[in-house]
Symmetry: C2
Subunit: 454 residues, 2 copies
């Protein structure tokens, strides 16, 4: 039997892990510098914690875990389970068959954590979380069933300083990664105001859904869809004018245009003011009034980051939500957060050739093996190199020398150390730089100095 991986999952080898860590370390450094602390939550949550939080489509993509009692217990477990299995098939929760599910994102588990520990936590709480999540999505290029999310959130504070700090994290991270990006901002209050002007129940949801398609289907089709969703002519004209603001060049022009459209609406003016305040501190941000972001729970600022020289959609996003923990019975805890799309950032760096040439500056050494009579010498040499923090491998078998060199090259070692009869006699080692081919017969101390200087 030839083994294989489940669809949509990946093994990460050493080279890939180093590249991923380069990205994650860059992000993590900014999180820490900005005062965020780490949190980790379990891979699976109770089913009831997750279900109903991601909309109907999201719920279907949650990986459910079979109860571990199943398959080993008494006949009546079997009976109960079979009787209830139809509920599962209909997409309903069924604690007799499944009561756990893999986490679908990091936000809901974080909200669960905050609600669960609310009395004990000092507010505001600034946490970052870098963990895998799982979605039963159809796998395709750049979309996996297991992938890494990388979030920072501040809860317990409504101050716009939080938005500013999060925007600065985006800026600093992509500067550090040398990835040219557009960091876009909008404010849900502005969108809600627009929906209010259109004067319809549920206008906000329909509006957000339609606007989200702007990039894909274009303005005319979006307006058509709005007409089909019973927006009147006047409303559609206003929305068209609103969306056209995106064609204006500067943030100032956009703000003026949209402010005029919403001139009568206090919530809209509030949103405009918030945008102005964040922009004053973060002039690199670009207003995009057509940015909607699907998630229902956003209530204020929303962010999205797109690479400008690779076509790859969004590589980051987030926003303000004012009642996330309300889902778990703890009301009125405002929050704002951002997320980095680590797998996509990886693809951007790969496609634009922006990973640093060498991920690690540490030099690595392979000690060649000329037979068991040298084992204790090789172990001693290795121990001395390792005390100097030089990563060292002893080739464990006394294979032919060219095989050992071939291995050294395949693995990308920086140096080989040879130690045989001659070296033992002279109390030397032979150090070979595998890049340049240079060789030196020197005492081990000197070899270490050469490696460290390189």
């Amino acid at each position: 039997m030839k083994p294989s991986l489940p669809q949509g999952t990946r093994d990460f080898d050493a080279a890939t892990i180093r590249k991923r860590e380069y990205i994650l370390d860059t992000i993590k450094k900014q999180f820490v510098l900005h005062g965020f602390e780490p949190l980790e939550t379990p891979a699976f949550e109770k089913l009831e914690t997750l279900m109903g939080k991601y909309g109907e489509e999201g719920d279907k993509l949650i990986f459910k875990i079979l109860n571990n009692g199943l398959g080993q217990s008494a006949k009546n477990t079997a009976e109960i389970a079979r009787a209830n299995f139809e509920n599962i098939l209909a997409g309903k929760n069924e604690p007799n068959i499944t009561e756990r599910a893999l986490k679908y994102d990091l936000t809901i588990p974080f909200a669960r954590y905050v609600a669960m520990n609310f009395g004990k936590l000092s507010m505001p709480l600034k946490r970052f979380q870098i963990q895998n999540v799982w979605r039963a999505d159809r796998p395709q290029k750049g979309r996996y069933r297991e992938f890494t999310q990388c979030d920072a959130d501040i809860v317990g504070s409504a101050s716009l300083i939080n938005e500013i700090e999060l925007a600065n994290i985006y800026k600093n991270v992509f500067d550090a990664l040398d990835v040219p990006v557009e960091i876009c901002i909008n404010n849900r209050k502005v969108l809600t105001a627009l929906a209010e002007i259109c004067g319809k129940e549920n206008a906000m949801t329909n509006l957000a859904i339609a606007i989200d398609k702007l990039d894909k289907i274009g303005l005319e089709k979006v307006l058509e869809e709005l007409r089909n969703r019973d927006f009147d002519t006047n409303s559609v004209d206003i929305i068209a004018e609103y969306l056209a603001s995106q064609k204006l060049g500067s943030n100032e022009e956009k703000l003026e245009t949209v402010s005029n459209i919403l001139i009568q609406n206090p919530l809209g003016q509030d949103g405009i003011l918030e945008l102005k305040e964040v922009l004053a501190a973060c002039p690199y941000l670009q207003i995009d009034f057509t940015l909607a972001r699907g998630l229902d729970y956003y209530t204020g600022s929303i962010f999205e980051v797109k690479p400008t020289d690779v076509k790859l959609g969004s590589i980051g996003g987030g926003g303000r939500y004012d009642d996330l923990t309300g889902l778990f019975g703890v009301k009125d805890v405002p929050g704002v957060g951002i997320s980095f799309g680590v797998d996509r950032i990886y693809d951007v760096l790969e496609e634009s050739n922006r990973f640093p040439e060498k991920m690690s500056v540490e030099k690595t050494v392979l000690i060649l093996n000329f037979g068991v009579q040298y084992t204790s010498d090789l172990l001693e040499i290795a121990a001395k190199l390792r005390i100097e923090n030089i990563a060292t491998t002893i080739f464990p078998d006394a294979k032919k020398i060219d095989k050992q060199f071939k291995y050294a090259n395949a693995k990308g070692f920086d140096y080989a150390i040879l130690f045989g009869e001659e070296e033992k006699e002279k109390q030397n080692v032979k150090l070979k730089n595998l890049e340049t081919g240079e060789q030196a017969n020197v005492p081990l101390k000197e070899a270490i100095a050469i490696i460290q200087k390189a």
Copy 2:
């Protein structure tokens, strides 16, 4: 609804994560210094990859994932699923309902990886892997349903240098963690020889199972169990003599005694020789001929690490296996590996108060907030601190000063920076050392210097 965690799982807060990272970084450092490279495999594998690899008991503890098609598709999916559900209940694989499962350890996924990529990998392959695994075990103190495994393996080499290097890793890690341990070694060849002398089919398995209980039930009960398992009097006498070797003080005495018992058995003598060779390089190892370790796949050296001043069972173990990838169709790839029980090591350090007092030497700063009129100043101060790699939080809301100080103390910040009217006028900041209470009104540059010197 008050939310809660699934049984046997945990949230890790910042303090816990720092302690865990202290352990993991210590281990990882040794792995890297010894030439091991990282590997990561997915959280879930195909069910067929995992089933049948961990014995009957192990199979029952594997968390199976419901197929994601279920619950959303046509009626006939429901019919198929219901018809087949009985197979699941009987513990059989059923691809119509579940074809994926959470990984149960890191060894089988690693074997799957090696078999899958065999032609492309340079041998020997030295990999380490630090990831979570999941078991549907009954949760109890120190036993979780999600926990971290931390493994290093070398495959593609039969040399005992590998055993020596792995033993050295154990030694170096527990020295670095300052945890007093016994690192025990035995060799499966010796146990197999003993079973051969007893001359029974399957003697090895019964012997290993009985010996594994020695610590719990004592010598007499073990011998009784062997008699019940049809070992004859002569065999039980030999085994009693063999097990009594553990009471001898030195490795040399133990080796001599057991060597004499197995004097006629070539495999046994081979095992004795291997032990002697490893011991010659690793004099800190302690022979324990009663060490069996349950897993069927071990064929040579076996290791176990126990803390000596905390009663907590094994905190590490491993051994040589000579055909692990044979499970996946790639024959004759010898390997040897060790594993660290991270969660238990955590408990040992906690119980014996051995975590370093401060996990991080980095100083942290909270900038207090006296109102929106200072926002841009505070942002500027924060930016300057962060450029100097000082982790900095701006208190986002202009709350009462004592509330902000209370927050600083609860969170354990090292310094507070105050910036109000007076400081703005004088172009100073007020720096307060939160441990000593010392204050200084100084230019920001000087404040940074003070923090950096601390």
